[in-house]
């Protein structure tokens, strides 16, 4: 098991954002973490990499206890977070962004070639200042930058946020291709339809707790998921329109 989280609790000040969440990700899997805005998904991810100090519970990456470690350590645990809202280095060139991503990787120039093969667009634009890329290209850069560290576990936070529908498709196709590269992915998303298509398994989070877990195919047909995230009504629903 690559990632194991047990009873994780964390939050901000007195506000508890994650209330005892447990989940696991096996090597080679793509696991989705679904939930509405404010369900605590991002806080959970932040706690996994150390950007947020967990209050209690344990985080094990490849068997090693990592909770409480500073964020910059997580890369040496072969775990890289692609943060929400991309957070690329807007004033640096595409190439420099990638090289920073390979900060701990001595073969960063070789790795950059591999990233360019995966994202030919980035090679074309390597000299360009990253802030001038389109939203989709910036997301590609954020993912490419994370791959520069040769992670075993990639944590993606809302990669489809703010992208045009066509771009969303492309990003999800890229995530699906991570499997070929042997990268394990924990994907945090609000876009349930697309996530359940690429993921092997998924968890559903609500108000800081994991309320549902299962194979992606099963979850896609689960009444709760259908109602809350896929915009469909239950068959056994009384026919009255539900209030959103």
């Amino acid at each position: 098991m690559l990632l194991q989280v047990k009873n994780l609790r964390c939050g901000y000040g007195s506000l508890e954002a994650v209330r005892g969440a447990s989940l696991h990700v096996c090597t080679g899997e793509i696991v989705g973490l679904l939930g509405a805005n404010g369900a605590g998904k991002t806080s959970l991810l932040k706690a996994l990499v150390g950007l947020l100090l967990p209050w209690s519970g344990e985080v094990r990456i490849a068997g090693r206890e990592t909770s409480g470690q500073p964020a910059w350590r997580c890369v040496s645990n072969s775990t890289v977070l692609v943060p929400e809202g991309k957070m690329i280095f807007a004033e640096m060139s595409v190439r420099e962004n990638l090289l920073v991503g390979g900060y701990h990787n001595p073969d960063r120039r070789m790795q950059m070639e591999l990233v360019f093969e995966r994202f030919p667009r980035l090679r074309e634009r390597q000299g360009q200042v990253a802030g001038t890329l389109s939203g989709g290209e910036q997301q590609m850069l954020a993912i490419g930058r994370a791959l520069m560290a040769r992670p075993m576990l990639l944590l993606l936070d809302e990669p489809s946020m703010g992208l045009a529908p066509l771009m969303v498709k492309e990003v999800f196709a890229e995530i699906f291709r991570m499997k070929d590269a042997g990268v394990t992915v924990l994907l945090v998303e609000q876009n349930a339809t697309a996530t359940l298509k690429v993921a092997d398994r998924a968890y559903v989070m609500e108000t800081g707790e994991i309320v549902l877990e299962g194979d992606a195919g099963d979850l896609a047909h689960h009444p709760l998921v259908k109602r809350a995230y896929l915009g469909q009504r239950d068959e056994d629903d009384s026919g009255q329109p539900r209030q959103k």
Partner: protein, 386 residues
């Protein structure tokens, strides 16, 4: 503070994306040498001009300005690349200078038991002061290392807690530090109170090379100071164009994201702060030997603010610009061009830079020249950005 955070400290577009990094092309590397060669040629040229004009005495102020420029260049690294502001670099300069001044002028002959072996180890030396009194003092080399140690310890004590927090805590902490150091220097007899210290001996770096303000070695000291400035610039340039430099730029650009990339941002900021404090202290040591003394005004808040103004005026991350602007303006100031408005000039400069040209005046000027086709920036051809 809001204006500042979007203004000069954020330094929009001020960071130069150096495409020619470790694996840069040969042409890129040669281009990088242009300022080095230009600087190395300008120094003797300026000397020649002053000699022909019969105003060789101006070299004294140029030498002093070059030492100040080392302080400002180090501050430019801190502000332009780590995105932190120090309002206490004058205090680090003074800490270096005063430590040297105290150790090399204070008479330690009372401590007979200890001074014996210290003299054997060449850490202390028996000499005569200006009035022929017999003294036992610390040698300049030993005092230099002691001064650096004092500055580094002070830097750690301030930087370690302040840099773990996000925001402008370093600016506040260093401002307080500067005020405390200035008060201590004025209030203590050991540091000569308001008079400061004088009679600091010359510093023989090696046979034939001496840091001293005496007229026969004026030319030599001018080249020494400019040479040191050039060495600092080349070292910092190499630092900035490496993996370390990329890490620094990424911290400036987005600290959380840099952290997620595995960069220990707190440690980096502390290292850069210590490096720039060390440069300030070292410049203070050289300056003190050169002028044979130091006064408490060197630690004043106005002096520190002047360094910040100069770093901003030079464009912060543009270290060459910082060095040249600070060399020129400090020279004019030392020659008394600004008269009684001396401090006001630097205050006004800072206000003008923040409100009109947050990325430094050199950048808009270069853009203007480029638009007119008079000067082609090598970097613009690389990115094709506006």
């Amino acid at each position: 503070m809001k204006r500042l955070s979007t203004g000069i400290w954020a330094d929009k577009g001020g960071i130069r994306s150096s495409v020619e990094d470790e694996g840069g092309t040969i042409a890129g590397r040669l281009r990088g040498l242009v300022p080095v060669i230009g600087f190395a040629m300008a120094v003797p040229l300026l000397h020649l001009v002053l000699r022909v004009a019969g105003t060789e005495y101006c070299l004294t102020q140029l030498t002093m300005a070059a030492y100040y420029a080392i302080v400002v260049t180090g501050l430019g690294l801190l502000m332009g690349y780590a995105g932190q502001v120090s309002l206490g670099h004058g205090a680090f300069f003074a800490l270096g200078g005063y430590t040297t001044a105290v150790l090399t002028t204070h008479d330690f002959s009372k401590w007979k038991a200890a001074t014996g072996w210290l003299q054997e180890a060449h850490i202390m030396v028996a000499r005569q002061d200006l009035y022929g009194n017999q003294l036992v003092t610390v040698t300049p080399w030993a005092a230099f290392f002691a001064a650096m140690a004092v500055a580094m310890i002070a830097g750690c004590l301030i930087g370690y807690p302040a840099l773990r927090l996000r925001g402008h805590y370093l600016a506040m902490a260093t401002l307080g530090f500067g005020l405390i150091v200035a008060k201590l220097l004025v209030g203590s007899n050991l540091t000569g109170a308001a008079d400061g210290l004088n009679g600091v001996p010359e510093w023989i770096l090696m046979p034939g090379l001496v840091v001293s303000g005496k007229v026969p070695v004026r030319v030599q000291n001018y080249y020494l100071a400019c040479g040191l400035l050039l060495v600092v610039l080349v070292l910092l340039r190499n630092t900035v164009q490496s993996r370390v430099g990329r890490a620094l730029k990424s911290i400036h650009d987005g600290e959380k994201a840099a952290n997620s990339m595995g960069i220990n941002t707190a440690a980096y900021k502390l290292k850069v702060f210590l490096l720039s404090a060390a440069l300030a202290a070292a410049a203070g040591v050289f300056f003190t030997h050169y002028t044979a003394g130091i006064g408490p005004s060197e630690a004043g808040a106005l002096k520190s603010l002047r360094y910040v103004a100069l770093a901003a005026a030079g464009g912060m991350s543009n270290l060459w610009g910082v060095a040249i602007v600070s060399l020129a303006l400090n020279y004019f100031s030392l020659r008394g061009w600004f008269g009684t408005y001396d401090n006001a000039v630097f205050g006004a400069l800072l206000i003008l830079i923040i409100s009109l040209a947050p990325a430094g005046p050199l950048q808009p000027a270069a853009a203007w020249l480029r638009r007119r086709g008079w000067w082609r920036n090598a970097q613009s051809s690389h990115h094709g950005t506006p």
